[in-house]
């Protein structure tokens, strides 16, 4: 809100500059800046509606800078009965005060009044309306003037009936359709104003107006907010009521208005205001433990200083020590508990005077850690650290980490064939409508987009994914894209996955053909027969590695080949934590021998490895490495070794034989090797070369 610096100086008696005032207010009350015209722009905090008024900001400023605040010199009796006021819901309208002023002369305002309004961005209407506005700016209490002659009967404050209408007092004479969510001021003829938001045209003050009724009411913030939202209409008054202003304000605002009207429009105010105030609010008095003040702030502010600060802000203080009694001023509706008082003390004492101090701590949680297996809905540091280490490992392998938005579009949902997704009620844009059930759709887009800048793109992401059953889990997704398909992409990604898992200490990983209904729906995104399910030793599926389905790639206009993988991060990391065991170093030398064979196309590497394992009766094989796989293409198939037989490919494995008890003899190794070769021939029909 904008504040006139001149006016603030008048009211506060401060002798600091506008810049100094802004700095002090920013530190201790609300963020304040000095505008180009030398006036203040203050960002009033939600708990300080009182400061939306020059008078109370001036009071704050006076107490913060040592100025001599000149309080109100006007007052007014209540108990008048010029109009009958009926409040149907005291929660929606806690107080309705009104004052009749007779014999005013409506006309232009004096220049000084016009100037004051215009400085603050309001245009002058006439002397009566201008007084209403200037009192609002001064005291924070919105006022409304009705032409008394145009009011029919008494005033009723009630919710509007369905179908009621009101023509607003604005230049366009906008007609608002009302309903029971909107609070109105009604006379015998119907609504004459939208409570706390806008006056009506039918009862407006005009050139011929002689007698007026000034309304100073208090409306519930939530009711005014609801009305503002319903009618899409915000006004200076509605902003103030939405903050929630003190009901105590009404009568002094009427008194101030009467005082000003007498000067600028003549007229005689009735001696007493009408005041409907069903449940008068009582001043709040709190017991303040000054030891708690020092303990919570961590500052050595003594009892005298505490009392002085609070009195300076208008609080009434009595007693001291653990039983200081503090009564809040009527305009401070935000003061409800001790901590509210401590905040007052803290900010005025000066947060800059609070020292930086190390806390007195326990070296560890008294209550210990939760059991790792307990199914808590959060992740602990162990998991977070592992994930970070993983990120560095993947970066070491040439993968770049991306962060994506957690939402996907209808189009991605369609292309990836996703169903039962959770959805935002009001998405930011169509691009971000559904909660991602997997990290891959967006990661594939990242690959596509980055292939414009690079021939090969390697990316990964970790993050939450959300499924239709309401669950949220951590995932790790990887993708490799290449402009030119070398045919090696699957193995490149599998190799990276292998290395990553090994570094995590997971060694019991198997890759299997993807069964139907595998690791979520992921496998469906891969080309048929070109995806593997990744399983741990006990058969738990932890992820999928595969080549992106060409149909998906085509729809997304990916220029190149893409391999993708996704893992359940929590399962992976938990599994890794239980792994890794020391193996004694070998005492005896190992013997390496290669076996080279031709096998049919349908013989898989795993068949060969398992056959070798089974045939190793003497348990001498320590390791088997596949060193070469050659699948002939085109003319190569015509070479004698392939054309003569059914054989589809040649495979070479390097065998490592070793015993933990003795140095192996040549005879022993040969015997073991012979048995293995025989098994390969018998069981797999291999031709040993």
């Amino acid at each position: 809100m904008k504040f006139s610096w001149k006016w603030l100086v008048e009211l506060s008696g401060t002798d600091v500059s506008a810049q100094e005032a802004a700095a002090v207010l920013s530190a201790k009350a609300c963020e304040t800046e000095v505008g180009d015209d030398g006036n203040l722009e203050a960002d009033i905090l939600p708990n300080r509606p009182d400061l939306l008024a020059h008078l109370w900001l001036a009071r704050e400023l006076a107490s913060l800078t040592g100025g001599k605040f000149r309080g109100p010199d006007y007052s007014l009796n209540t108990g008048g009965d010029a109009v009958r006021v009926n409040i149907t819901d005291a929660a929606a309208c806690p107080r309705y005060s009104a004052l009749v002023v007779r014999g005013v002369t409506v006309g232009p305002s004096p220049e000084s009044l016009k100037m004051r309004l215009e400085t603050l961005g309001l245009s002058s209407v006439n002397n009566v309306v201008d007084v209403m506005n200037v009192v609002m700016l001064e005291l924070g209490q919105p006022l409304h003037a009705f032409d008394l002659a145009k009011l029919q009967g008494g005033i009723t404050v009630r919710m509007a009936a369905k179908g009621e209408k009101l023509t607003a007092l604005d230049d366009a004479r906008t007609e608002y359709g009302l309903d029971p969510s909107v609070l109105v001021i009604a006379d015998g003829s119907g609504p004459v104003a939208i409570a706390g938001i806008k006056g009506g045209a039918s009862t407006a003050v005009s050139g011929g107006t002689k007698d007026i009724l000034i309304e100073a009411a208090n409306f519930s913030p939530s009711v005014v907010r609801a009305g503002t939202a319903r009618l899409n209409l915000r006004t200076d008054a509605s902003v103030r009521f939405s903050y929630g202003i003190a009901p105590a304000m009404t009568v002094s605002a009427l008194a101030r208005a009467a005082q000003l009207l007498k000067d600028v429009a003549g007229g005689t105010a009735e001696s007493a205001a009408v005041d409907a105030y069903p449940h008068p609010s009582k001043p709040v008095t709190l017991m303040l433990d000054t030891g708690y003040v020092r303990g919570l702030l961590g500052a050595d502010v003594d009892d005298d200083a505490i009392a002085r600060i609070l009195s300076g802000l208008g609080f009434t203080v009595s007693g001291s020590g653990a039983s200081m009694s503090v009564a809040a001023p009527v305009w401070r509706t935000d003061i409800r508990r001790q901590e509210d008082l401590i905040e007052e003390v803290g900010r005025v004492y000066g947060y800059e005077n609070i020292p930086s101090r190390a806390p007195v701590v326990y070296a560890y949680d008294e209550w210990g850690w939760l059991n790792e297996d307990e199914d808590v809905p959060w992740d602990e540091y162990g998991f977070i650290r592992e994930r970070t280490v993983l990120a560095h490992r993947l970066a070491g392998m040439g993968y770049a980490e991306v962060y994506n938005y957690a939402f996907i579009s209808d189009e991605l949902k369609e292309i990836f064939g996703l169903t039962t997704l959770r959805e935002l009620a009001k998405p930011q844009s169509e691009e971000y409508r559904y909660l991602r059930p997997s990290l891959l759709p967006r990661l594939v887009l990242n690959v596509r987009d980055n292939l414009r800048f690079a021939n090969v793109v390697r990316l990964f992401e970790t993050g939450h994914r959300f499924t239709g059953d309401g669950r949220e889990t951590s995932r790790l997704a990887l993708a490799v894209g290449a402009k030119k398909d070398t045919g090696e992409l699957f193995f490149e990604l599998k190799g990276a996955a292998d290395l990553m898992l090994q570094e995590m200490g997971i060694t019991d990983i198997q890759y299997d053909d993807v069964p139907p209904f595998a690791f979520a729906t992921l496998a469906l995104w891969c080309a048929p027969g070109r995806a593997a399910e990744v399983k741990t030793g006990n058969g738990t599926a932890v992820g999928v590695v595969g080549l992106l389905h060409p149909a998906i790639a085509a729809k997304l206009k990916v220029r190149g080949a893409v391999a993708v993988a996704e893992f359940d991060l929590r399962t992976l990391i938990r599994h890794a934590q239980g792994e890794r065991e020391y193996e004694p170093l070998p005492k005896y030398p190992a013997v390496e021998r290669d076996i080279s064979m031709l096998v049919n196309d349908d013989v898989r590497i795993r068949d060969i490895l398992q056959t070798i394992q089974r045939a190793d009766a003497s348990d001498l094989v320590r390791d088997v490495d596949v060193v070469d796989i050659f699948v002939p293409t085109g003319d190569e198939k015509l070479a004698p070794e392939f054309s003569r037989h059914e054989y589809g490919k040649s495979v070479a494995v390097r065998m490592v034989y070793r015993s933990d008890e003795r140095t192996l003899t040549d005879t022993e190794v040969t015997a073991a090797e012979t048995a293995i070769k025989k098994a390969l021939q018998d069981e797999l029909g291999a031709l040993i070369r």
Binding site: A27, K28, L45, N47, P221, R225, S242, G291, R294, G295, L296, L297, G298, A299, E339, D340, I342, E343, G346, Y351, I354, P355, S356, R357, A358, P359, V360, V361, D365, W367, L370, V376, P377, W378, E380, Y381, I384, T388, A391, H392, L394, G396, M397, G398, A400, E401, V402, Y403, N404, A406, R422, L424, K426, Q428, L435, D449, F453, G463, H464, G470
Partner: protein
């Protein structure tokens, strides 16, 4: 010919007598004895000469070569090293073999150092769910349905569910306190969502780090002075600047009382000398303690929240927050 021999000898001798550097000597040796040297040309030209000449000049030239080799060798030994043969030298300015480098996202890196610093101060690091209940995100934090702050948060609600994308990391305060009794100290880094228009400084998805430290109420209880101390220590470590100071300005949050805005001022580097707003903080509101089932008045402590993006942008001079979620390799490559 004798003249040429003398000239060659003199020139070479001059060099091995004057040069003190092994590498330079080696180069000089190549000039005088190498393939393109005058001496070598004479030797090569010898076979086209007449027999007599060959017999006369051959031994002389060979002697000269021997003399030069000895001279340079002795000089090189004196120079204190055996110079590398030029043929074995590596052009150290040629590029190394290219390895594809990967990249850890700048926000992961920031997160990592923040976690490490707080962890070293004994804070537990936790991450919570991103889809939350309205109760955890609002009600328990003293933001009832009617509260204006609720409307200000621009919440993404989920369609057909009583759930939302958390608007801050504070709901983890609620989850954690429901399961634990003080004393404790935790930080909660994580992703949060606000349904607002994006520009260079606004995102609808960003990250926060929440801090919460609670003790029993008392003179030694966790205080605002501790909040200042912890944050100051953190920023000093994070920006590697022991001169950093922290300032609080009065503010308002429904879940803290008193509430403050946190500013820091660096002593060196590109951020030096100006106050930078860095987060919100305050002393945990007793209504929050009440909501999680604590007896009001028994405990006291602080909570703070800061954006992860902001200090990262300050640290690297990044001018557009949207780059973090853009997935552009040209951006990521720089980290």
């Amino acid at each position: 010919m004798d003249d040429r021999i003398r000239r060659i000898r003199d020139a070479a001798k001059k060099e091995w007598e004057q040069l003190r550097d092994a590498a330079e000597l080696e180069l000089a040796k190549v000039r005088h004895l190498g393939r393109k040297s005058e001496l070598n040309e004479l030797l090569r030209g010898l076979k086209e000469r007449a027999e007599e000449e060959r017999r006369e000049w051959g031994p002389k030239l060979q002697n000269l070569r021997q003399e030069l080799e000895d001279g340079f060798r002795t000089a090189a030994e004196k120079a204190g090293g055996v110079a590398a043969k030029v043929a074995d030298r590596i052009d150290v300015t040629a590029p190394g073999l290219r390895r594809d480098r990967g990249h850890v996202h700048p926000l992961t890196q920031a997160q990592e150092s923040i976690n490490a610093i707080f962890s070293s101060m004994g804070f537990r690091v936790l991450e919570g769910p991103e889809v939350e209940t309205a109760w955890n995100n609002f009600d328990a934090l003293n933001i009832p349905p009617d509260h204006p702050a609720r409307a200000l948060m621009d919440t993404f609600w989920l369609k057909g569910e009583d759930a939302l994308m958390r608007t801050h990391t504070s709901p983890m305060q609620v989850r954690f306190m429901q399961a634990h009794q003080p004393p404790f100290r935790i930080i909660v880094p994580g992703r949060v969502y606000r349904n607002e228009a994006t520009d260079a400084t606004h995102e609808f998805q960003f990250h926060q780090v929440e801090g919460l430290m609670v003790s029993r109420r008392g003179a030694d209880g966790v205080s605002m002075a501790n909040l200042k101390g912890i944050l100051e220590h953190f920023y000093r470590r994070y920006f590697n600047d022991p001169g950093i100071v922290v300032r609080f300005n009065a503010s308002y949050f429904p879940f803290t009382e008193p509430s403050v805005e946190v500013f820091m001022k660096a002593a060196r580097g590109k951020l030096a000398g100006r106050w930078i707003e860095i987060g919100g903080a305050g002393m945990v509101h007793q209504d929050v303690f009440k909501a999680v089932g604590y007896v009001p008045g028994e405990f006291q402590g602080f909570a703070f929240g800061m954006s992860l993006e902001r200090p990262t942008m300050l640290k690297y001079g990044i001018d557009d927050v949207r780059l973090f979620h853009g997935g552009d390799i040209r951006f990521l490559r720089q980290f």
